[in-house]
Assembly symmetry: C2
Homo-oligomer: 215 residues x 2
């Protein structure tokens, strides 16, 4: 009984790691759709979102069933309940990547990102994919130091977002209100995507220690 | 033992209902801060957010402890795990109300909302507060029909958001890019606030029936 339970628990953890890996690919494709006005990449981001959603729901169900049947306590219980919350974050990350891809699709074949902002959006895309990769490693290793690192890294991403918003609000903004709106939404989608990786890290610390880190 | 468990479960449910009531007040104060350039209302929204956060965390801990100690199954287990997810949504709703209030504060004493958009923002504020109130009733009564109603009501709120975004993107937008950015963020904050009430409703249906409603 216990052996079977440990196996199930390990499988759920592996599938969570895999789900997180899919969000990394999704945000990468979304950024590509945006910067290269690439519809195939936009399609791929949307497909990955659908896939993350279905797999996430199925995984959520397995975690709940395992709690109900095996009545775990302490670390195992925190891992399963924390895992269910992480699934919710990962599903949301998939949606945010799909939102970004959808902005690219809606404006196709026009580029959404003005030339001067390409570098900063590209940096945000790289940062978001790197944070998803780091979250995947945190889920895999349950390493507290790595989880705390990710929380710090997110501060740098926030700084990118401040620069992006400052650009759209400057007096020298040349691209009109509609473009400022798009850039604001895109910035917000990347920011929220990254915020969810921080939530996952905080929750892994909770799973390990039983306590959330200070905000 | 069982009697004590039922009491604890009922208390957690009551506190969840109360937490939801606080989000309703928070979004109302945030809208007032925005439309009346009222700093006291902005302060109140920020305080409520802090309060929701602290209470939410404490409630989350109680729910987890109860699962670990009493090892509930079926409806009770779904109610506790669903409750923990609902707490996460309610905390996020508090943050979103605080974000809205913060936009008002940053621009004080200048009004953030152009005259022509006051009516639509006011409608969104009313809709968001009404959805929080409806979510509170769904949490209290666990009425499936009321939960499904709330999911439908949200479509009307999405329509308000589409009108708001269309205004900022129109050729006749007079207020510049910076203002368009503010309106976009505000619209998005209201939209997300309302989305979380839908999540809560969907989850209450899951608690009652063991199945999520179709999207």
């Amino acid at each position: 009984m216990r052996e079977h339970f440990d196996e199930e628990l390990a499988e759920i953890k592996d599938d969570l790691v895999e789900l997180c890996a899919l969000t990394e690919v999704a945000i990468d494709r979304a950024t590509r759709a945006l910067l290269d006005t690439d519809l195939t990449a936009a399609d791929r981001a949307a497909e990955l979102n659908a896939d993350i959603d279905i797999r996430g729901r199925e995984l959520d169900h397995r975690a709940l069933t395992l709690i109900a049947r095996q009545q775990p306590v302490a670390l195992d219980l925190r891992a399963l309940i924390g895992g269910m919350h992480n699934i919710a974050d990962l599903r949301r990350m998939g949606s945010l990547a799909a939102h970004i891809a959808e902005v690219a699709r809606l404006h196709h074949p026009e580029p959404v990102v003005p030339f001067e902002l390409r570098a900063i959006i590209s940096d945000m895309g790289v940062a978001a994919a790197a944070q998803a990769a780091a979250a995947r490693e945190v889920l895999r290793t349950r390493d507290e130091a790595a989880a705390l690192d990710l929380i710090w890294v997110d501060e740098r991403t926030d700084e990118l977002l401040r620069r992006l918003f400052a650009a759209t609000k400057g007096d020298d903004w040349l691209y009109g209100a509609a473009s400022a709106v798009n850039i604001t939404l895109l910035g917000r989608f990347y920011e929220r995507f990254c915020d969810h990786t921080v939530e996952i890290s905080r929750r892994v610390i909770f799973v390990i220690t039983g306590e959330f880190p200070d905000e």
